[in-house]
Amino acid sequence: MATLEAPRIVTARLEYEDSHTLARFLATGGYDGLRKALSMHPEEVALEVDKASLLGRGGAGFPAGRKWSMLRKSQLAYLVVNGDESEPATFKDHLLLERDPNEVIEGIIISAYALQVNQVFLFLRGEFALGLERVQQAVNDAYQQGALGSKIFGSDFSLDIVVHPGAGAYICGDETGLLEALEGKRGFPRIKPPFFPAVSGFYGEPTVVNNVETMANIPWIVVHGGDAFAALGAGRSTGTRLFALAGRVKNPGVFEIEMVKNTFRDLIYDPALGGGLLDGRTIKAFMPGGASAPWFAPEQLDVPLGQDEVAEQHSMLGSGSVVVFDDTTCVVRAAWRITKFFARESCGQCTPCREGSGWVERVMYRMENGGGRMEDLDLLLDLCDNIAPGLTWPPQQTTICPLGPSIPSPITSAISMFRDEFVQHVQLGGCPFD
C-alpha cells in the first residue's frame, strides 16, 4: 500500500474548487512564505532551500540549491522559470499553473529574493490558454497586493515578472533553447561551453532557470524549513513530488506523493492513486519518467520512486510522467508515436537528431503499417546507435542538446523487450492489434 502520510506541499490548496483565486490563496496562507522570507537574509533563504536538498523538478533533477549557488555574481542577473511543459503525458506543471498559480508566483518571488535578481521571465507553453490567463491574473494580483513591483511588502526588494508565452516548440523546454526563444530568436539550444546559464544565460548574463514545480515547493520550504522538507523522502530524493499517471489505468491523473517511500506499484495500483489497470487487463510495460526514459517491465514495479533508485535500473524519473501499457497496447505503435513526436520536435540543428529522428520514424511507421522487413530491426538499432553511440544509459550525447539521445529510448526499449512483437508485425504484414 502506498505511503500517503506526507503533507501536500504543492497541491494542498487543490481540494478547493476556487484554488486559483486570490481570495482562496490569501485565506489559506498565501504570501506567508514570502513575508517570512523577506524577514530573513537572502542567503538564509537560499540556505533553507539548500538544506531541503530540493531536486529540480524539470527532468534532469539537478539540486536547486546548488544551481542557485552557481549564479555568477553580476549587477544584472535573471531568474527564468520554465513552464514550457510540452512532452506527451507530462502534465504536472499544467495542473499547478491552472489550479494554484499564486503559489507558483509566490515561490518565484521568494526565489528571486534569495537570488537577489530583480527581473523574472516566466516562459509558459503557448498552448496553455487557461494557465496563461490565470498566471497573468496571479501576477496582476501580486502587483496589486504589493507582492510584486517596487519595495515588496515594504522591504528594499523590488521585482518584476514578465509572463512570456512560447510559440509551440517542445525544444524551448530545453533551458538554452528557451533562453534563445526568450531573446526573440529561433529556439535552437545553445552549444556548450558555456556550460551553465548561471554563468552565461539570458543575453549573456547570469541566469537561473528553474521549473514551475520547483518554484511551487519554495513557499512551503520557507515556512516549514528545509529540514522538514528533507525529512520527507529518502536519500537524494527528498520531499514529495508530482507524478502524472497516464495510460491504461482506472484513475489517471496527477498525484503528489512522498518520494522513495512509494513505488511504481503503489502509484499505479493503490486505490487512492492510479487504482490499477482497467478490469481484465494485465500490465505489459510502463514508461517510468517521460517520453525519453527507457521503459520498465512489470518486474520493475517495485522500484521506489526516487531519482537514484530509478537510475540504478538504467532509466530515469525524468519529468515525473508514468505511462502504463497493457496487453492491448501495440508497443510498435506506442514507440512509433513517441518517435514521431521527437521527429517533429527536433529543432533541426544537429544532423544525427534531425535526420536520425525522421529516418527511424519512417521505418517505425512502415513497420506498424505492414511494410516492415526483418532487417529493419538491425537497421533501427544501428541508426539509434549512430544517434547515441553505444546505446548506453545514460546515453552518450553527441548532439548539442539531450533531445537527440532521447530518440533511441522508446525504440531500443520496445525492441529489446518485445522483439517478438516486431517479428509478428513483419510476418503478418501489419499490426496484430488492428
Partner: protein, 864 residues
Amino acid sequence: MTDVKTTVTISINGRSLEATPGELLIEAAERAGTYVPRFCYHPRMEPVGICRMCLVEVDSPRGATLQPACYLKVNDGMTVVTDSEKVKKAQDGVLEFLLANHPLDCPVCDKGGECPLQDQTLAHGSGETRFIEEKRHFVKPIEIGALVLLDRERCIQCARCTRFAADVAGDAQIAFAGRGDLIEVATSPTQPFDSVFSGNTVQICPVGALTAKPYRFNARPWDLEQIESTCTTCAVGCRVAVQSSGNRLTRVLGVDSEPVNHGWLCDKGRFTLDSIDGNQESSDVLNAATRITEPLVRRNGTLVAVSWGEALGEAAELLRAAAAQPNGVGAIGGAALTNEGAFAWERLLRGVLGTEHIDAQYGDGLNAALLQALPRATIDEAANARVVVTLTGDLREELPILFLRLRESAVRYQRPIVEVAFGASALRSVASVSLPVRPGEAHLVAQALGDGTLPQGVVFTQGELDAARQLIGDGEGVVFVVGRPNITESADVMDYAVRLLATQFSRAKFLPALRRANVMGATDMGLGPQLRPGRGFDAESGGRDALAQLEAMRSGEQRALLMLGGCLLGNVLDVVGAREALDAADVVVVSGHGGASLAYADVVLPAAVQHERLGTVTNIEGRVTAVAPKIVAPGSAWPDVAIASELAEELGQSIGLASVEQAAKTIEETTGYPALSVLNDSTSDGVVVGDVAERSARRPLDPMAFPGIRSTEEVGLGANAGTTSLADLSSTTSTMPATLSDLGASGKLEVPLADSYSLRVNLSRRLYDNGIAVQGSPALTTLKAVSVLHLNHFDLDRLGAVTGDVVGVTGTRGSIRLPVALDDAVPRGVTEIAFGSLDADGVDVVRPILDGRDVIAQVRLESE
C-alpha cells in the same frame, strides 16, 4: 607572477604536438596533418558545431567522449583520437544521415564535381544506401534573391549561408524556418535576399543547394580552366580565381587572401563577367555594354572600322598637331589600366608628347600627391586598428570588401569605429560614434576632432564630438579611412579635412578609400599632375587636373585629349560642361568599352580589359598584385602597353616597352616600385609598396571552405613564375614622394549662402551604378540604382510630402521631377541622391541640373 603559456601540448592519435591555447582542435589537428572531416565548420566564421561530422574522441574525466573538433578549444594535456572505430562509426553515421534526404541528383547539379559532400562520400561513404523511405520534397529551385537560387532538397543545414549573411555581411535576410528534417533556409515573405554579398553563400555552400543565376548550368567544373588574378571592379583588390570554358568567362571565385578579402567577394565583382565577354552582338559604341573590337576613325561624322595602322596614324596626327601648341594636349582617365599600361602611357604623354596635363581621376577622387604625403595604413592595419575613423561614403556601396573587414573588426573583435556620417551608411549600426555632417563641413569636423570646439552651424553635438575625441585620443593606433563621400562637394573640402587630420594626429595612419579599379596604380605610375612613376612627385612641374583640362578645352587652349577609358561623361559631375569641352577638342579614346563619350571621339583604339591582360595593379593600401589573362581579347583589341608603344612609334619615338614583362622590369628597375617581381609571383598576395618585407603566408587551399577553386599544383603557376626575384633587380630608385609641405594651399571652402528652402546635395555612390560593370551584365542591370531624393522627416514634413511623392527639383541648370523617400540617416537640410542612378525613364537626370561651380551643390524642392 605566473608565466603566460604560449603553447600547450596535446596528443592526437598518440602523437604529441604543440598548439596555441584557445586554438580550435580541428585547426590544430589539420596543422599536424590530421584531417578531420567537416561541413559546417568554416575557417572564416565562428564555429557552431552543428553538422557533427567532425566528432572525435576526446579524453575527459568521464572517459573518452565524442566531441566536435570544430568547436572544442585545445587545452594542455588534451588527448584526442581521430582514427578509432568509434570515431569512424560516428562520422560514417553522420554522413549517412546527411545523405538520407539528399536527392543525389549530382548529374544535374552545378556543384557536381567540386562538391564537398560528393567528395567526402566518395572518400568515406558507403557504396549503398540503407535509406529506402520517401525522401523529403520541396519545390526546387526557388529564387531567394535576384542572383541566388535555392534548392532546399539538396541543403544539408550546415548554416554556412545563414551565418555568412547574419554574422559576416550583417544582412540577416536568410534564416532557418521549420524544424526537424523539414527545416529549410528561407527568406522573409516580404524581403528577398538582396545582400550585395549574396554570391558568397553560393561559393561556400558545401552542396548544390545554393546556385548562382549567372553561372547555373553554364559549365561543368572539370571543363573549366583557371588563373588567379585580382578583381579590378573596385580598388580593394580582392584576389580571385577566374575560370573560363574555352574563351568564355564562366565564373569568378574569391580566393582566401589573408591581407585582403578572406575569400569573400561582392556580387558586382563576382557577377560582372558578361560586361567583358557577354555582349558580342552589341555594336552601339555609345553603349557602355558594347566591347570595342576594332580601331575606329570618324569619317563624315560617323565612326568606321579601320586598320590599326590607319587608326594609329590618324591618332598620332591629331596628337602631334595639338602638341605643337603650348598646353595643347592632355590626358584624362587611366584608372582601368594595369600599372604597366599606365606606365607606358605616362612615358608617351610626358616623354613623347611632352605634356604635364595628365589626370587619372575625374575630379571625384583625392589629391594623389596628398596621399603620397600621408602615413599610409594597410587594410589589415585598419581592421586591427585601436580605432577606425571613416570619412567616406557608404563603404558597403563603395568598397564592399573593405566594409566587411571593418564590420568584422567592430562586430567580432569589438574594435570601435567612429563614423563621420555624410549620409546613409551600412556601418552606422556597428559604429561606436556617428558624427552627422552636411556637405561642405568635412573640414569643420576634422578641425573639431583636433581642438574639441564645436563649430557653429554643424549638425553633430558636443557630446558626439567628445565621444569621438575620447576614442581617437592622440591618434596613436588610429586609422583614418578617407574617401570622397559626395562628388558635388568640391575636392578642396576633403583635401583640407585630410590635411587637418594629418597635422593634428601625426601618429595616425591613413587608408584612402578611392573606389575606381586601379586608380592607385595609375597615380603611382604618374598619371596625375606633378606625379612621377614609382609614387614620385615633382614639385617643380605643373599640370592641369581633369577639371582644369576640360576648362582649357572649352577655352580652346587645349586642342586634343587622349581619353584613357571611355567613361569620362559617366563620371564627371559637370556633364554639360564636359560635353562642351569634348565638342571643342580632338579626342582620341583608348578603351575596351563603348560609352557616351565616344560620341565625341575622332579615333577609338580598342583595348584589352580585365581578365584579358597581363600586368600588375595596386589597391587602396598600395598592395601590388598580379592580374593575368584568362581569355583572349575580342577582335583586334590590344593590351595598353602595345597600343602606347605603337602610338609612340607612330609619333616617331620609342618608349622602349616591347612587352608587359619589359614594362614591369623597367618600372621596378628605374623606380624600385614592385612590378616584375610581383608578376613573377603571380599566385601570391603581392607586396605593399614601401613595405616589401610584408608578405603573409597564404593559407593552404581548403576545398571544404572554398569549393571550386583549383590548387596551384593542379592548374600550374603563372607563365613567368619563379624567373626573377626582387633581389635580382638592381633598383636605381630616385623617386621621392610628396610631403605635406610640398603641397600648395587648399582652395576656398566657403559654402555659398542660400535661402532656407534650399537643400545641400549629397550625391553619394551606389554599388550598382550606371557604370560598365553593371550596364554590361544582365544579371546586375535590374539592380541599378533608381533616382530618389532621400530626406529626413523634418525636411519631408516641411515640403509637405511623403515617401513616394514626386517633387520638383531645381538646380543651377534647370529643373527635374523626382520621387522623395524618408531617410533619417540623412542630416537635416540635406538631400541624398545616388550618383549614377536613373529616373523612371532610365535617364541620368540629376547631374545635368548641377554645374559643379560652387563648393557644394544646392537644390530647391517644390511639392506639386
